[in-house]
């Protein structure tokens, strides 16, 4: 069997560049991060007033601060790594920095398109679009889409899916 041709970059977008997601997703995730780490810092900080525990508490506070800063930066990078592209017959979604992923879902295989948004996402104006096929392993989730873009995408996907739907 002859070798199939190779492409230069396994995660290159097809044609035009990847459609990015909204930077507000990064804001939303950072907000969630703060909601978790600030109480932790407060608790640790208050225990620092106890003399015996001070060195341990201060060490833990330092660790938490470093972790928070690192996650802050990481969130930005991860949000920038999300991308999607609509082709004639299928939809591509890519994500990840360390563990890069690309999934291609043919329109005819789509069974469900979900749009969800938690309270923080809603307040910042981003939603998550998730495509379902008959396969549980299809991981086509695009977070951070503004509601207008998300519902436009969903309508297009639903129409195309309807047109091309194949049996199981």
């Amino acid at each position: 069997m002859a070798e199939p041709l190779s492409v230069d970059d396994a995660f290159a977008p097809p044609g035009e560049p990847w459609h990015p997601v909204s930077p507000k997703l990064a804001t939303a995730r950072r907000l969630t991060l703060m909601l978790v780490t600030v109480p932790v810092l407060l608790v640790l900080g208050s225990t620092a007033f106890v003399a015996q525990a001070r060195p341990v508490a201060l060490a833990l506070v330092a660790v938490t601060l470093v972790f928070t800063v690192w996650m802050w930066w990481l969130i930005g990078r991860r949000v920038r790594s999300f991308g999607y592209a609509e082709r004639a017959d299928d939809l591509l979604v890519t994500s990840g920095i360390m563990f890069r992923r690309l999934v291609v879902v043919p329109y005819g295989r789509m069974q469900l398109v979900d749009i969800t948004a938690g309270p923080i996402d809603r307040s910042l104006g981003v939603t998550t679009v998730q495509l379902h096929t008959a396969a549980a392993s299809t991981n086509a989730t695009i977070p951070g889409l503004p509601p207008a873009e998300a519902s436009g995408l969903r309508d297009r996907l639903a129409a195309l899916g309807e047109q091309r739907s194949a049996g199981l």
């Binding site: 069997m1 002859a2 070798e3 199939p4 041709l5 190779s6 492409v7 230069d8 970059d9 396994a10 995660f11 290159a12 017959d89 299928d90 360390m98 563990f99 890069r100 992923r101 690309l102 999934v103 291609v104 879902v105 043919p106 005819g108 295989r109 096929t133 008959a134 396969a135 549980a136 392993s137 299809t138 991981n139 086509a140 194949a166 049996g167 199981l168």
Partner: protein, 496 residues
């Protein structure tokens, strides 16, 4: 569908005549519910019962057990009530209806035009008293399964025949579809194969290590641990033996019928149109004997049901040629011995030195194949038309080596089709090529209709062990990827 005509050989019941399940049903159901309770009482309460007997005689024992008796009575009463309210019948449009429920009435209707399979299942408790269940599967997946418990064996078979007859409509092929046995698994082979499986060996090895270390450090007390840890792998072997005893594969017009089980006899119909992917596994210790196991992912069948992983093993163990023949029935035109694998690039050895020899992908005009595995070699086969989506993944180690893995997604089940650690650029090319093949297969493939009255297969399948696999597939030049798609009509003809 108008008034059903009488079909010779199958008495159709009058429309809308409501029937009850067997009167012993509440008893069997109660035993199933409180059996654990009774067992616990016997195991833990024997001492207390003895004391009560010594103190107050029979009255004392009854008093001690009063709680259990009350619970038993309540369960029996509720089961009986539920039984009186459970009815099944064929409604005016010919569909099967099952009404049940005491407080909350549930009406389940099976649209016979979407019928996928009907099976008679004999769970252990029912078998003891000669009862069986009728299990009806409908196309659509999820919870579209209706189980009718319990009927007498004769009633169950008759009901099954009637449902099939009605689903097939008026005409030929009604009644119990004739069966041609294709393969059976001899008991001796089953036992040996289960003992030789890699999991069994590894568990035993681990047990021996644990026991040896305990005995060396603490002395004879470690022997007790032997019973615990040595028992586990043997328990696994035993339970698999009970499940797959007497495994028989038969062909009938409505698909492949699998029958197996020692205590509870399970029977399962696999309509070919529903098979999503198959997996051939070859444990290391089976290779000398040429044995393989074949598993299936079938759409719409649930795993982890009360019968365990029903319908997901096509053959627990079989010689290769038998397995290839059976696979041909499920995926016509596919010959696993003709797969020409393209191995992973040499630098993938650094990523997976143990698996490297088993890594490869292959494809022909019908299926895509991916192999992997270290001690056990797994070959996953998916027909192009069953491709759901494709994916490419790459972890940091793979990126450093310029590798990526290709995954072809399929419905939930034991089979996963992953081409591990290919060259990164090639992985993307393979994914795109597979999408094209999938699209053209869907466009040109047959419609998914089953349970349509079918002519039995022309060539008698029971023509002995010498019959060659149907339509050996010739090695075919691969479809070139995106820029130059090969038109679907230009595929080479397959040998008859």
């Amino acid at each position: 569908m108008t008034e059903p005509q009488p079909i010779p050989g199958v008495g159709l019941s009058e429309p809308e005549r409501r029937r009850h399940t067997h009167p012993l049903t509440p008893v069997v159901n109660s035993i199933r519910s409180v059996g654990i309770l009774i067992g616990a009482v016997i195991v833990f309460g024997l001492g207390g019962i003895r004391e009560a007997a010594l103190a107050g005689g029979l009255a004392g024992v009854l008093a001690a057990l009063s709680g259990v008796i009350v619970i038993l009575g309540l369960t029996l009463g509720l089961s009986y009530l539920s039984w009186t309210r459970t009815e099944y019948f064929f409604d005016s449009s010919g569909d099967f209806r099952l009404d049940s429920g005491i407080l909350q009435r549930s009406e389940r209707r099976v649209t016979l035009s979407r019928l996928q399979s009907v099976d008679v299942v004999r769970p252990l408790l029912g078998r003891i008293v000669g009862l069986a269940q009728v299990r009806i599967e409908v196309a659509g997946g999820g919870d579209s399964r209706v189980v009718l418990s319990y009927l007498s064996e004769k009633d169950a078979q008759e009901l099954r025949a009637e449902i099939i007859a009605r689903a097939a409509g008026v005409g030929p092929g009604a009644g119990e579809a004739p069966e041609v046995v294709l393969a059976t698994v001899p008991t001796g082979d089953l036992i040996v194969s289960l003992l030789l499986r890699s999991e069994t060996f590894l568990l035993l090895a681990v047990s021996v290590l644990i026991v040896a270390s305990i005995v060396l450090t603490e002395g004879a007390g470690g022997l007790f641990v032997l019973f615990l840890t040595g028992g586990l792998p043997l328990l696994g072997v035993f339970s698999q033996f009970m499940r797959y005893f007497g495994f028989t594969v038969a062909e009938s017009p409505d698909g492949l019928r699998l029958r197996h089980g020692l205590a509870s006899v399970q029977s399962q119909t696999v309509p070919p149109g529903r098979v999503q992917a198959i997996e051939i596994s070859e444990p290391l210790l089976w290779r000398r004997r040429g044995w393989v196991r074949v598993s299936l992912t079938v759409a719409g069948l649930q795993s982890g049901q009360e019968e365990g992983q029903m319908g997901q093993v096509l053959l627990p163990v079989a010689p290769r040629d038998v397995a290839w023949r059976i696979i041909n029935r499920v995926l016509p035109g596919v010959d696993p011995s003709a797969f020409q694998f393209e191995p992973a690039p040499p630098r993938a050895r650094k990523r997976a030195w143990l698996q490297w020899g088993n890594l490869g992908v292959a494809h022909d005009d019908r299926v895509f194949v991916a192999s992997r595995g270290f001690l056990t070699r797994y070959v996953a086969v998916i027909p192009h038309a069953r491709t759901q989506s494709v994916g490419v993944t790459q972890g940091p180690w793979e990126r450093a080596l310029g590798l990526a893995s290709v995954r072809v997604d399929t419905t939930p089940g034991p089979v996963s089709v992953v081409g591990l650690y290919r060259d990164a650029g090639q992985a993307r090319a393979i994914a795109e090529a597979q999408l094209l093949r999938a699209a053209s297969a869907r466009a040109s493939g047959p419609a998914d209709r089953w349970m349509v009255p079918r002519v039995p297969p022309a060539a008698p399948p029971g023509a002995g062990a010498a019959s060659p696999p149907v339509a050996p597939v010739e090695p075919i030049a691969p479809t070139p990827p995106a820029p130059d798609p090969e038109p679907p009509g230009a595929q080479p003809p397959v040998a008859p």
